[in-house]
Amino acid sequence: MKKLMLGNEAFARGLYEGGCTVVSSYPGTPSTEVTEAAAKYDEIYAEWAPNEKVAFEVALGASIGGARSFCGMKHVGLNVAADPLYTAGYTGVTGGMVVCVADDPGMHSSQNEQDSRHHAKASKVLMLEPSDSQEVKDFVKKGFELSEKFDTPVIVRMSTRVAHSQSAVELCDRVDYQLKPYVKNAAKFVTLPANARKLHVTVEERLKEAERYGSDCEFNRIEMNDGASFGVITSGISYQYAREALGDKASYLKLGLVNPLPTDIIKDFAAQFDKVYVIEELDDFIESHCKKIGVNVIGKEIFSRIGELSQSIVAEKILGEKKEFDSFAEPVPVRPPVMCAGCPHRGLFYCLNKLKLNVTGDIGCYTLGATAPLSAMDTTICMGASVSALHGFNKARGEEAERNTVAVIGDSTFMHSGITGLVNIAYNASNSTVIILDNSITGMTGHQQNPTTGKNLKGEPAYAVDLEALCHAVGINRVRVVDPYNMKQCEEVIKEELAADEASVIISRRPCALLKYVKHEAPLKVNTDKCVGCKMCLKIGCPAISVHSGKAVIDETQCVGCGICTDMCRLTAIEK
């Protein structure tokens, strides 16, 4: 039976068919749906972990315990999980372990454009890279076998276009995988230097063996076309672009095992052509390998290291072909993403802007607080950096900074890696003010539960972390809770905590307006007799409010009646 499946759904199907029983992940676009889909299979235990490092260690523990296991994350998540990854390369596995890392070339929803293949190379583990949903499922399923054969975690590298494209998948039965018996093996799993030195030798031997395997395995294949005048070496989504743009004009070496890269098959393939192109997104990973083994290829001298590739780029760079098209005769205003109507972050960010504060920011929907007209964010680096960077900023600049600088971090991001930064603030005594934006959900990635929400991945009741008690326990005496729909209260409390002579946490608490259980009020209306078109209401940047013909207008399909705008209007022209 064939079914149209997202790459990420196909990934979960591969986990199911491959006999996986333990899944632990942290959400991150474009990887999130793998774990959500895996949670729908009754045979799989699946959870959201507080961060990727925890998730990786849970999956490794499950593998050591004899199960086939999985953890999933986006590219920057693998940085968080890099610590266990690099040593898991040494210990290897018991049950097969598959890791999803989803890269985001073009940065559709990410803060950088890193190429995760470097992590596979540096940690010396195997990496597979599928090109469509069918391959995703097949590679994941076979990834478990590969993991057990080579005694290493296997990373399956996804990218946005593979993860978020649907294509047909042939469904198969689940393999009958039995939990392997647990046998203590300190020489393998206790990485004391004496053990680790021996393990490193094994790792290098394993890599050599996997490199030889790569020249004769089902993941790497050659597609020869009669009359092809040049060769193309490619992998992942780039294969699809190359195939569409070049068709039968080229022959292809399609690499599915991208770490370690093979030698013989590349040499043999390239020897048949005068000209060989390497087509790969982001860095020159395959190209560098080719050049290292003495194969002359054309790559980044014509293709960019920046952004996504496409069939058009391939056609233009290699064939010199360009498609014709019409343009709209006038400039088209950009339409950037914005905080939704009724978003609880809006009121809080308006206060930060009004008070002209420095704001160290973090990763989540609220990063949109950096955009006009709220424009209330100075930095966004990585998960948790708002809290730790605030402390450093304050240590550098002293009291002047402590009185006018805050950190903002969401509830899920705080659980992920904000806590340690807060411990540092208390322990190393900076007078820092941290605002936790608690909207009771992981918002940006599409509403995932987290340790503060009271529910687990399957929607079952779970222990909810008590944020106030947690902050007190790490040594923060001043913990205040505000309602971001009450801007007057927010402003007062922020001023008081900035003026206080010790560290504070302000919890801005109201659930995301898009949560199903959040009741919306009736849309508000503008009394056109009172409205003078002063545009004060536009300063909160609500997408439901605009001014037409000199009067404010509220779009009733968007307005959820949050009432923030009524506080902006001195003439009380916005009414229920």
Binding site: L4, L6, T29, P30, T32, E33, H108, S109, D132, R161, H164, S165, Q166, S167, A168, I237, Q240, Y241, R243, E244, A245, S310, Q311, S312, K323, E324, F325, D326, S327, F328, A329, E330, P331, V332, P333, V334, R335, P336, P337, V338, M339, C340, C365, L368, T371, A372, P373, M444, T445, G446, K535, L538, G541, P543, I545, S546, V547, D555, T557
Partner: protein, 195 residues
Amino acid sequence: METKSIMIVGVGGQGSLLASRLIGNVLLAQGFDVKVSEVHGMSQRGGSVVTYVKYGDKVYSPVVEKGEADIIISFEALEAARWVEYLKKGGHIVTSTQQIDPMPVIQGAAQYPEDVIGKLKAQGISVISANALELAVKAGSAKASNVVLMGLVSAKMDFEEKYWQQAIEQCVPPKFLELNKKAFEMGRECVLQQA
């Protein structure tokens, strides 16, 4: 058969995922190789969003590039203008006349162009338009404007109506089925009247 390309464009939250699923199911029922490429995450938050649907004997790239789309389905007038460069010469735009001001327009930093649809037509581009939101409200819910647009599109594609009906049954929860079927019919009728 040569690969055909459809783009679905609009504003985050307008329901383009259901639209792409409907079309995907119709195409799969015809026995085509199909790829549907969606946008998740940051771009959904009221930003400009795009979904690609490609079908044929064998589809490779899931994305549609400038000058490649046979049909662009737009949920909002300005988005039709934004993405028109992706239309193949001789392709069709099917758009709702609905206007949603983007934040730079709301803030007065940019202007919403006047009579977008008229100007596209004046450039010699084939445009089929309807007030999908109004029709959806008439059908019973503003949320069904995506399915009204599917009705419009169905009249421009060569597949029997029953396949569309089947796809709606596959993709829409039973309690909203009648409403959505009505919305679809209203969209389809609207084009047949224009023709």
